[in-house]
């Protein structure tokens, strides 16, 4: 890897989503899309190649973040991590996403990188991915044939692979409106603050007093794709959150995952710590008034 050398490609700067879609339709898998480009530029310095790079830089109107109490949150394709961080609505109603944004990379990258870009990267270590997976929602994809929505539950298919077809552009993320008793939380473990996660986890709970009506738990860095802990969620459903239950959850999470050793951590560490991290995100979510 030589970080001074960029490979050659044609840069295309469409001015509308329709133009971008028709370029994708024309070039198919020979084209890649960037908004901030923080990930693709680094990838290109370490071997990633594309014939055509389509930048969203000249398309206006995609950098919105709109919250409506009845329909939820809409995040556009060009909305940056910093925009998420400066939204009081996200902090109040989607704390897991706000917390993921607050520790995401560095201020410089938060100013350029987008939430949707992080989802499309489909890395199991993605912090926004982890939070969004727990929160649930849909990704709006636009192709030549029109728009379709894909649930986050069906979006990440393999390492680096999403349900987006090569001729589609992800134009929006929708997160559902919070219901009464709705709580969420995100946590990440790294060696240093700027590093990628050794483990990350998010909890999204629907509480009725001390009782948990519904739970969504997501965890990253323990499989090729971000993972939901459905067996552990079942333990929470309809149960009162007690210390005993939390200890049972710690054990259960260890049984539900099968992580690997890699540059950032070992399988042994992840197996030991994942349950504790899930316990902490549940506790943190519950502690929020």
């Amino acid at each position: 890897m030589n970080t001074r050398i960029m490979p050659e490609f044609d840069l295309l700067l469409p001015e509308t989503v329709e133009q971008a879609v028709s370029l994708l339709d024309k070039y198919q898998d020979k084209a890649s899309i960037i908004s901030g480009g923080t990930d693709v530029c680094v990838a290109m310095k370490s071997g990633y190649r594309t014939d055509f790079l389509i930048s969203l830089a000249k398309i206006s109107g995609l950098d919105y973040l709109e919250y409506d109490p009845s329909t939820g949150l809409r995040i556009g394709a060009k909305t940056t991590i910093s925009q998420v961080l400066s939204s009081a609505d996200v902090k109040t109603y989607y704390p897991a996403l706000w917390q993921a944004a607050s520790i995401f990379a560095t201020p410089q990258l938060r100013n350029t990188a987008t939430v949707i870009g992080n989802l499309l990267r489909a890395s199991p270590a993605g912090d926004c991915i982890c939070a969004v997976y727990a929160l649930g929602g849909n990704i709006v994809l636009q192709g030549a044939e029109g728009q379709r929505e894909v649930s986050v539950d069906e979006f990440w298919l393999a390492y680096g692979v999403t349900a987006r077809k090569v001729d589609e552009i992800a134009i929006e993320l929708n997160l559902p409106a919070p219901v009464k008793g709705n709580r969420s939380s995100f946590k990440r473990l790294t060696r240093t603050n700027e590093d990628l996660a050794k483990l990350n986890a998010a909890a999204h709970l629907e509480m009725d007093g001390k009782k948990c009506k519904q739970a969504r738990l997501s965890i990253g860095c323990v499989a090729a794709i971000p993972m939901r802990l459905e067996k552990t969620e079942a333990l929470l459903k309809g149960a009162e959150i007690t210390d005993d239950l939390l200890e049972k959850i710690v054990t259960n999470v260890g049984n539900e995952i099968s992580p690997i050793d890699d540059v950032r951590s070992t399988a042994e560490y992840r197996n030991q710590v994942a349950g504790v991290l899930i316990k902490r995100v549940i506790t943190q979510a519950c502690c929020k008034s």
Partner: protein
């Protein structure tokens, strides 16, 4: 590979340049325009030596920014902070607190500090340290840099102690 004719307004002055598609903003500044105050560090958006401000106050890494995507934008480099021969209060504070050792990270540190103090004029030490993430110094151990940011905050508030 295609070329792009772009206009960048750098430190208040317009520059028209023709750049190949893969030209990074950092290389346009350093190589094409000979503005070497912006430094090349890691090249992967981690160390912050290449930090510039866009549209006034948005700090970004120019080493992972394609120049052609910045057409028409206003860029501020560390050299653009000086006004009429007077250093910016942040630059003064870095000198006063001896926050500079080898100096390589300092253009990025100074720009990050300007950006941080514009958004939050009176940050706590914790906020300063969180804000300086993304700018690495391998000499001073950050203590003096944090002090310089605190000093700059005081100068800018007009209550220098």
């Amino acid at each position: 590979m295609n070329n792009h004719d772009i206009t960048l307004k750098i430190n208040g002055e317009e520059h028209k340049v023709t750049v190949p598609a893969n030209r990074l903003l950092l290389d346009v500044l350093r190589e094409d325009l000979q503005m070497t105050e912006t430094k090349y560090g890691c090249g992967t958006g981690e160390c912050g030596a290449c930090t510039v401000l866009v549209e006034g106050n948005k700090n970004i890494c120019s080493c992972v920014t394609l120049a052609a995507t910045m057409d028409g934008r206003e860029i501020t480099t560390a050299a653009g902070l000086e006004k009429d021969g007077e250093l910016h209060p942040v630059q003064e504070a870095f000198i006063d607190e001896f926050a500079v050792q080898c100096g390589y990270c300092i253009p990025g540190m100074v720009l990050k500090t300007v950006s941080m103090l514009t958004e939050n004029p009176n940050p706590t030490e914790e906020e300063i340290r969180h804000g300086l993430e993304g700018n690495m110094c391998r000499c001073t151990g950050y203590t003096k840099i944090v002090k310089a940011v605190q000093k700059a905050s005081q100068i800018m508030a007009g209550s220098e102690s």
